[in-house]
Every structure is written in C-alpha cells, then in structure tokens.
Symmetry: C2
Subunit: 161 residues, 2 copies
Amino acid sequence: MAQLRTHRHLNAGETPSVDVIDTSYLESLLGYNARRAALAVIEVFLEAMAPYQLRPVDFSVLSLIAHNPGITSRQLCTTLGILPPNLVGMVNALEKRELISRQPHPRDGRAMGLHLTTQGEKLVRDAEATAAELEAGVAARLTPSELRTLIKLLKKIYQPG
Amino acid sequence: MAQLRTHRHLNAGETPSVDVIDTSYLESLLGYNARRAALAVIEVFLEAMAPYQLRPVDFSVLSLIAHNPGITSRQLCTTLGILPPNLVGMVNALEKRELISRQPHPRDGRAMGLHLTTQGEKLVRDAEATAAELEAGVAARLTPSELRTLIKLLKKIYQPG
DNA sequence: TATTGTTATACTCTATAACTATA
DNA sequence: TATAGTTATAGAGTATAACAATA
C-alpha cells in the first residue's frame, strides 16, 4: 500500500496549488473502487451492445425472459431492482420491436407472462455471445482464476445470505 | 458453478409460468455483479453519511480537497469523472455550508483553489471515521485478506495501466 | 487559439402517488 | 383487503452548447 505523495507548489505567501492529485485515500475505500469498476465495465458493455440497441437493463430483461419464459413484469422488477412504473416503458419498447410478446398468465388474470419472439431469441443468442466475448476482453487483465475470485467476492458483498 | 434449475408450472395447453427465477446466467457476468455490489455498498454509504448530509460525490469532493488543498474544480472533475457544469452546483452548495472556501489560484488567474474551512476539516475527519467503520461493516462478510484481494482486483478492472 | 469556470438546457434515470382490474 | 400493471409526474443524475475571463 504505497502512500502516494502529494506534489504541491508552495510559493511565497501561502495558498498551495496541486500538481499531482493524491487519490490514495479514496482508492482505499471499497465503495469507491466498486463504483469505478462497475462504471468501467458498463462503459465497455454500452459500446459492445450498441449494434443490438440494448442498454444493460434491456439486456438483463431479455436475458431473464429467455431463461425464464413466462416471467411477469413484477418478477422482473423484484429480480432487477426496478420500480414497476419504470419497467412499463421498457417492456412496451421491446414489444414494439417485436422482441417479446405478452401472453395471459395461466393462473393469474391480473398478470401477463413475457416471452421471446423468434426474433427476440436470435437477438438474445447474439447478444449473449457478444457478452461472453466482453467478459474475456474486460477481464483480460485478470487471470481466469482471478476473475472467478472477483465474482465470488462481489457476490459476498451484495448477496443477503 | 451450479446451474440453478428453473421451476415452472406447465399446464394443460402451453403458456408456462415461473415460480423460482433463474438468475444464474446474469450472475455469471462480471458487469452484473460489479453493479449489484456497487449499489449495495452505496446504499449503506448513503445511510451512514445522512447525518453529515453528504452524498458519495460530496464525500469524494471534500475528501479530495482535504488531501489536496488548493485543488481546482477542473482537477476534481477529471479525477472523479464529473463534467464541469455538474460540479458547479456542488461546490456552490459546499461553500454555502461553509465547508470549503475558494481562494485565487497562485499561478492561474482563471482558476480558483479549493480549501476546507475549519468546519469542513472537522466534518471530513468525522465522515472519514464513519467511512472506516463502514468498510469494516460492509466487509464483515469478507476476511481482511479477501477485502484486500477484492480491492486489488477491482483496481485491475478500471485502472488504465 | 486553448482552457477555467459558468449558465442554460435537455435527456436519462429513479422515485412517489394514484388509478383499474383482478385476486 | 391486497396485488399486477399502468399513468402521470417529480426529482436526481448526466449530457451538450455556448459564453466571459484568462492563458
């Protein structure tokens, strides 16, 4: 933990100025590092998913529908931490793009089950393949073992258990 | 990597519904885990810093000023990834609360050096002490060694080198 | 000509209240 | 009475363009 040294100009009177900024304190905090890392990964994700016109949240929604056909909006909300009013527009947009369809829920007349269309299935396949390349790319600085460790430790942070 | 099984109701006709949601695919992605972990840490941070009326970004700004007296707005922006127009209001608010002061930059008439007031110094001391407790609390699920590893791996993700 | 700090402004994201229809 | 989905709306966060003062 090498403590960076602040380089300052100290002139005649008093008021110091800063040449090299000392970020060592912030970099010692978990929250700071977690946020920076998340933003860095998301930035790469945004670029790679641009051809599919998918934001991270759209990818998450489509992928959850793909792996859970018939999932409801409410279930998507609780799983992804999205508030219901904010999901409505996303689901509408995905339906308008003919990537998903709504079908009446078999046992709850209030709910609608969400399903991928054939187009949607193809898009998710392609997008998940791109995401796999991303994982390899972003984590190129890490060994496979380090990547596994990182994900395991991140889970420990946010998972209730 | 135990693949969770999706539990579905399969009834007479076709339309499936989902009881237990399979999130195993998303949880295998670095970006998803990084974002969830960052949000979890920030949530705890928000509560703990409420008594000081500091958001994470305010804490970062004050802490950087504390460790780099005379730092300019522009330097804060590049260090924290904030756009200049969005920093103006924050700095104004902190000045209004008499936590920081602006002093003319010794060698650049366009810039203003930022400094903590005596009040600001006390607040940063207290807030950093609280942040230290937080680190211990949030990372209670991790051993000290795991926490060091986690921060080291996160740095590898977002640092350019 | 380039940069610091600033204003105005727009766009996205997130949050709350309230409605409807079904349970 | 409670819940799924929805509407409207408000607030926070983030983005671009353009300006005055100084380099």
